[in-house]
């Protein structure tokens, strides 16, 4: 009796990829089917206009979803009229373009509205094992529930909407294992900041090609689904193509019963498929990294790249200790922009503002962790502190738990959902210092680039807990200090 040859071991990434191959185009290029496309008001209008101008229509408008999130007003009581004229232009144009294209829109005051990467899993539109794209670089966030998802440009977006496919080459495969137990007060955000600080802003690429990363290991398995999304959110800051966590029982439980999730027998059939989505033993990885998180500290960035960061207890690095060349020059420029002195402690550096929000850290678990740090204290005088829930349902759920009262009583602003001050689009700001010097912000977002949060603004990336601890102290502070 002859035995059938065993199939080659495959990674979870390869399994999802293989299930979406429409055609091999030669030269390593694959025409890949795309299950879900998200558009937003910032780039959606030009994208849909380009499509229409070329006489094209969405192939499957029911697989395309529009969201208002990027530049929407997050101050309470918003309406079209509370936006600046340019912002209104984007909002109105997106509404018109999605309607003309037959694309479902989660509009400004829809009860399901939210940041696209928070909304898509929350509504059950992002699912394990699917391919999902959006003209936004943080689309990999939904890798947290085992989707293969990545950010694209506008022209690629037109291609996806018109043909329900994209052309790609297979990315190198990388496995990143986080081992050990995460200490109390240290979070998924700290894990990914540590990864990027250790291996650099291109550590997720091999030979200039962004990798597809599977995050695994005991510390990843121990994260809830929202923490896994935080981890995957910042794969783009690591120079990777995308990242995911293979779905497990907690993923399936998380997906069950959501508005767009499959129901009944369809859900059971989906689960049977999703349970096959794991990396086989003996999968060949192009690269593998391991980090032990057992002694991980809260992380914070000191520079203008997410890679320029480290443990919160460490001093500002001294560029003179680095080899001369571009790394030293980049460090010097970053410290000059950030107004930091080499060798000085980061802890205790006075701040002007604190921001909890963004697709990285604005889900209910983030807000709970942030609120838990308050313990009856108040935001330090002179610090502007904001909490911006990731979606309208997250806001409602937080209010049902009374979290908004904790934030408001402590002196935080409690906003409506949107991308808000993760980046500065001109409509809202952290204000200005009386002496005109640049503002310093501790932020639960993903990018500390020059000017990202406003002209001259100095951004320190950290976890929501660290942001709140710093807001209360009025300076960069360790969230573990004083914890019961």
């Amino acid at each position: 009796m002859s035995e059938k040859p065993l199939p080659d071991p495959r990674s979870v990434i390869a399994k999802i990829w293989d299930a979406h191959v429409v055609a091999e185009l030669g030269g390593g290029h694959t025409l890949l089917h795309i299950d879900r496309i998200f558009l937003h008001e910032r780039t959606g209008p030009a994208l849909l206009a380009g499509l229409a101008a070329a006489g094209r229509r969405p192939l499957h408008p029911e697989k395309v979803f529009g969201v208002m999130d990027h530049i929407v007003d997050t101050r309470p009581g918003r309406s079209d009229a509370t936006h600046s004229a340019p912002a209104q232009g984007f909002i109105t144009a997106f509404r018109e373009r999605t309607r003309a294209a037959g694309v479902r829109l989660f509009d400004l005051n829809d009860s399901r509205q939210g940041i696209v990467h928070v909304l898509s899993p929350e509504q059950g539109i992002a699912l394990p094992g699917i391919t999902l794209v959006c003209p936004d670089s943080h689309t990999g966030t939904v890798g947290g529930l085992g989707a293969l998802a990545w950010g694209i440009g506008s022209t690629e977006g037109e291609h996806a909407v018109a043909t329900q496919t994209l052309v790609r080459t297979r990315a190198p495969q990388m496995r990143v294992r986080f081992e050990g137990h995460l200490p109390v007060g240290v979070t998924a955000k700290d894990m990914v900041l540590a990864l990027i600080a250790r291996h650099g802003a291109t550590g997720g690429a091999l030979n200039g090609q962004g990798c597809a990363i599977e995050f695994d290991g005991a510390a990843v398995r121990a994260l809830d689904i929202e923490g896994r999304m935080t981890l995957c959110n910042m794969t783009v800051e690591f120079g990777a193509w995308t990242g995911l966590v293979a779905p497990d029982d907690s993923t399936l439980q998380w997906v069950a019963g959501r508005p767009f999730s499959p129901q009944g027998a369809a859900f059971d059939a989906a689960c049977t498929h999703w349970r096959t989505l794991f990396s086989d033993d003996d999968t060949v990885w192009n690269h593998a990294l391991v980090l032990d998180v057992s002694r991980l500290e809260p992380q914070i960035t000191w520079g203008t790249s997410p890679a320029q960061g480290g443990p919160i207890s460490q001093p500002v690095p001294d560029p003179q200790t680095l080899p001369s060349g571009s790394q030293r020059a980049s460090t010097e420029k970053a410290l000059a922009y950030m107004g930091l002195t080499p060798g000085a402690p980061l802890l205790g550096t006075p701040i002007d503002a604190a921001f909890v929000g963004s697709c990285t850290n604005s889900r209910l678990s983030d807000l709970r962790a942030a609120a838990a740090v308050i313990r009856g204290r108040r935001v330090a005088p002179g610090v502007k502190a904001l909490v911006v829930p990731g979606s309208t349902p997250v806001k409602a759920a937080a209010e049902a738990l009374g979290l908004h009262r904790l934030f408001l009583d402590a002196g935080f602003e409690w906003r409506d959902s949107g991308c808000s001050l993760c980046f500065f689009s001109g409509g809202d700001s952290f204000g200005a210092r009386a002496d005109g010097r640049p503002l310093r912000v501790v932020s639960s977002t993903n990018r500390n680039f020059e000017g990202r949060q406003g002209p001259g603004v100095r951004t320190h990336l950290a976890s929501p807990a660290t942001v709140v601890a710093s807001a209360l102290a009025g300076c960069i502070a360790d969230p573990r200090v004083g914890a019961g």
Binding site: A93, S305, R447
Partner: protein, 213 residues
Amino acid sequence: MEAFTRIEGLTAALLRENIDTDIIIASRDITSPSRDGFGPRLFAPWRYDGPGGPERPDFVLNQQPWRAAVILIAGANFGCGSSREMAVWALRQFGIRCVIAPSFGAIFQGNCIKNGVLPVVLPAARVAALGALAASAAQPLTLAIDLQACQVQQPDGSCDGFVVGARDREMLLAGLDEIDLTWQYRADIEAFEAADRLRRPWVWPGAVTAPRP
């Protein structure tokens, strides 16, 4: 899309690592849902003295002869960050047709190809050497970028070869529209979808994943 065969022009150097798309085009400068008008706002945070302010004379693209630069030499991980395609539109509308760097942000690199801007990857040492040559205002560097030959050519005849994906090269040389190319596979797409509806019915909205009331 715009074809790219061979270009020749003034070369400016901006040798910083991790130049992100927020610096290339700031979010606050994206004020209309159109593809035009970004050229004057290219690198605005470095190019102008504050929002709405005058040009900063120390910024390379504000200096002669580089106001007419066609080629930009930059540090590693150029175009990292946001996927905003306006970053490429801003470069193109300023007049840049080619960026030479040791590496690029992946989404930005793809966006370049689709807009007739050629991202050329050269080893860091070669980028630094060319960047040093490009820093002289007295002897401005003119490079030629030949996509047929896949070469960066200097006036003295020396050249650096580079590698670009065969498909990207073909599309750039002929100025092909990728959607048109993909529609040649329409039958494959239809066959895939017919099979997929049976294999994974739950991903097909309208069948079983309509939202519950």
